[in-house]
């Protein structure tokens, strides 16, 4: 008899979801996490009187209570629906480039069309067709395509997924160009590119289109208590079902026997036997470092070569001694840039020499005052940045370098939201090195590998060389909150189905 039916390595979104699914499905599961708290990216920390959300800017996929969308069902199935409260955000984002545009998109398809029609009357008639395309693309990508593909018949794919076939893998810039002329309008509609970390010309249009439609139709959400509340709820559900958890307990080795998973050894030298391991750690670490015989990874190592390190972030967590109204902001999510050129913005992510050209200013206290003391605000001010930008920063220069870049980021934010600096009461600066430290993630990458067209699920083949070893998380699928929760639930579900088949 094995110590556990399954062991989950890492308590990020995907690890927690997999663990909760497995344990609730009747498999005795051990969840081990090297940090002292569940969540991975989905966490918060406290400084002084403030609680800072680390990663979640806008949760997608929930839908409203009346019209629940997929993620609500997934959360239901994991038993956390009565453990978490949400706050609906009524806007997608404000997009502000001083001297060029300052516009706010409401969180509804109709609202977006009406706001943009007014601002860009010459292109008004193309807005509805464009957003309709985003909608059908969403349905096709997630419903029609998987079914059509399962038939094995290319004609069925062609017939049932017409839009996906035509637009799915095209780059987002290309499609925006096809519909619109005004570069500013294209900038506004492409605003979410930063959430995927690559400029529009490298992103599959289906990712951008789905995101835009999904936030507009299913609303962006905040979580009361931040994403840590979701992480704590998932863990609670796992524990209630009888699961075992170990914190401060990194996995050090996945031991195999005849090419199949046999056990996991922890950093403290304990060994737990099992036949099923779900790794929420990066695939890079899982196959190159954790697996006792990396040569077993064969094909995966080859596959890695066609992938590229994904982007990380540079984030300021700000506790401000004033309200959002005092700052003059009404919208939680503010994209602020000094150019509408996404490629120029993205180029700054590769180096510390220049200054950021685009950033995201998220004020969590718009709509939810509970994260800050009365009359104060919590803000995350973020720009994209690759881990490699820090490669040549010497340890002794680390602090000064991060403070210097933080100043530049605040300067950029102040072009739209003046007097941020004067209101700072608490500040923490997180760099890609910080992400590496807390998440054990190569490159500090926050969405796993670079999310270009070549990463799209429709072009990748699944490689799973080690029997009983499953990957779940941003390195083996799409990054971000909704995708990783779903990935964990789905990996857990498929292990359960196989197990039950064997048993039955």
């Amino acid at each position: 008899m094995k110590d556990y039916d399954a062991i989950v390595i890492g308590a990020g979104n995907a690890g927690l979801s997999a663990a909760a699914t497995l344990q609730r499905g009747g498999m005795r599961t051990l969840l081990m996490e090297r940090h002292n708290i569940p969540g991975g990216c989905a966490t918060s920390f406290v400084r002084g009187d403030y609680e800072f959300e680390v990663a979640l800017h806008q949760l997608s996929g929930l839908g409203t209570e009346d019209q629940p969308a997929i993620l609500r069902h997934v959360f239901d199935s994991m038993g956390i629906s009565d453990k978490v409260d949400y706050v609906e955000e009524h806007h997608l984002y404000r997009y502000a480039v001083p001297g060029v545009i300052d516009i706010t998109l409401p969180a509804s398809v109709k609202g977006i069309i009406s706001v943009l029609s007014e601002a860009f009357p010459a292109e008004a008639d193309k807005l509805k067709p464009f957003l309709d395309l985003c909608e059908v693309l969403t349905l096709e990508a997630y419903m029609a395509y998987p079914r059509a593909k399962a038939t094995g018949d290319p004609e069925v794919i062609k017939k049932n997924c017409r839009n996906f076939v035509k637009y799915g893998l095209r780059n987002a810039k290309d499609v925006l160009d096809e519909f619109f002329d005004d570069p500013v309008l294209k900038g506004v509609l492409g605003g979410y590119w930063g959430y995927m970390g690559l400029p529009l010309k490298e992103l599959p249009f289906s990712d951008l289109g789905v995101m835009l439609y999904a936030y507009a139709a299913m609303k962006p959400w905040h979580v009361v208590g931040g994403s840590q509340a979701l992480s704590n709820a998932l863990l609670d559900s796992f524990l209630e079902a009888g699961g075992d958890v170990r914190f401060n307990c990194g996995a050090e080795q996945i031991t195999t026997d005849n090419g199949a998973v046999a056990a996991v050894r922890t950093e403290h030298g304990e060994i737990f036997t099992t036949n099923q391991v779900v790794s929420n750690a990066s695939s890079i670490l899982t196959y190159n470092q954790l697996l006792d015989r990396p040569e077993l990874a064969g094909d995966v190592r080859e596959d890695f070569k066609s992938r590229r390190m994904g982007v990380s972030g540079f984030v300021l967590y700000l506790g401000l001694d004033c309200t959002p109204e005092d700052l003059g902001i009404e919208v939680a999510t503010n994209f602020i840039a000094n150019t509408i050129d996404d490629e120029a913005q993205h180029a700054e992510a590769l180096t510390l020499d220049g200054a950021p050209k685009g950033c995201l200013f998220t004020c969590y206290t718009v709509g939810d005052e509970t994260l800050a003391p009365k009359g104060k605000s919590v803000v995350a001010l973020m720009c994209l940045q690759y881990g490699s930008a820090w490669d040549n920063v010497k340890p002794e220069d680390y602090a000064a370098t991060k403070f210097a870049y933080a100043e530049k980021l605040i300067d950029l934010a102040e072009t739209v939201i003046p007097s941020v600096r004067a209101h700072i009461e608490e500040i923490e600066v997180a760099t890609p090195m910080t992400m590496m430290r807390y998440l054990n993630t190569p490159g500090g990458a926050i969405y796993g590998f670079s999310q270009g067209i070549a990463e799209h699920g429709a072009v990748r083949d699944r490689v799973r060389p080690v029997h009983g070893l499953h990957l779940a998380g941003s390195w083996s699928g799409m990054g971000g909150f909704q995708p990783t929760y779903q990935a964990g639930a789905s990996v857990g579900g498929s292990i359960l189905r196989k197990q039950n088949k064997k048993a039955g």
Partner: protein
Amino acid sequence: MTLKDIRSVIDGFDATRAQMEDLAETGQDFANEGARFQTRVASLHPKRLALTVSELVEETATTRTLRLTGDAGTLPPFLAGQYVNLFVTVDGVETARPFAISSAPQECGHYDLTVRKIPGGFVSPWLVEGLQVGAKVSSSGPMGSFYVNPIHHGDDLVFLAGGSGVAPAISMIRDIAARRLPVKFHLIYGSRQTDDVIFQRELSELDAACDFLTLTQVISEPNDTYQGRSGFIDAALMSEVCGEMTGKTVYLCGPPAMNAVCAKMLKDIGVTDKRLHIEANGPPVDPTARAGWPTGIGADQKITVTVNGRGSFETTAGEPLLNALEKAGYQVENACRSGECSLCRIKVLSGDVFNPSEAKLRQSDRRFGWVHSCVAYATSDVEILL
């Protein structure tokens, strides 16, 4: 492959597969990526540092400075004002205490910790009297947010130090001097008696050498020959030596009682939360005196703690759970031992636990019963999950 992939019907599929092949030509298998970034992270934030006591300096009758040298060469950089958590075994108990680094960040071969013996303390007497040169100890990496933050602290800095609280102050002063930072720094340093003043000589030398530094020393229990300022650091003294407080950033680091009194005094004279930075204090000296402590329960009340699946032991209500666990032989990660860093987080499965205001708990940790064990007190029999 002879059969055409059915996905080829998707526009761009074949082109993307071709692109993947090109990428594979120039890509890498990331075989060394893990070791590479983990080494870099460890150079900034090691989990544990192996250290040797290379020198011991008597500062006063009750205080000495431990010079700790890294067994692996240079030590991770720190920001002046930060602390390390020193792990030790005293009377067979594995425990730890945080101490501010008193040396300058520019001296990267060692950390100096300046430790004052607390009467009745468990660890500090041993560090001041028991530790020998050559002893091996370990510590956390440098931690904490009590440092001069260039982004919003401004250039007019005031530091109120009491007793060993001068340790982070002297590190800051040495750092400002070494980097020639464009700031003013006023150290107001209170001690009980002239014999208790730590770093008297160094401070006088720095005062003479550094234009940016103003030094005000106060003795609360002066002897007959003492000529300087006496009394406590209070509003009258502040207004006399500092004048208008607007625009000044104040750091406060002293024994718990001093921190409490001075924090209130500073607020009364108009120092806002934003301008006031108070170093952590450790657990409350008397938790039973705090608001919210259940009536009828004394600090000596006997409590049984059951560790889920791992046995049980007895302690008292007034003992922080972390200390009680360590004495009973359980190991719990920790660093600040003051409720701030959350490393000692544990879950309360049943029973009542008192969380004083030091416990900087996340909103959802409260909801799901997680506490910071270094400042958590069991006020009934409890079951916990480690």
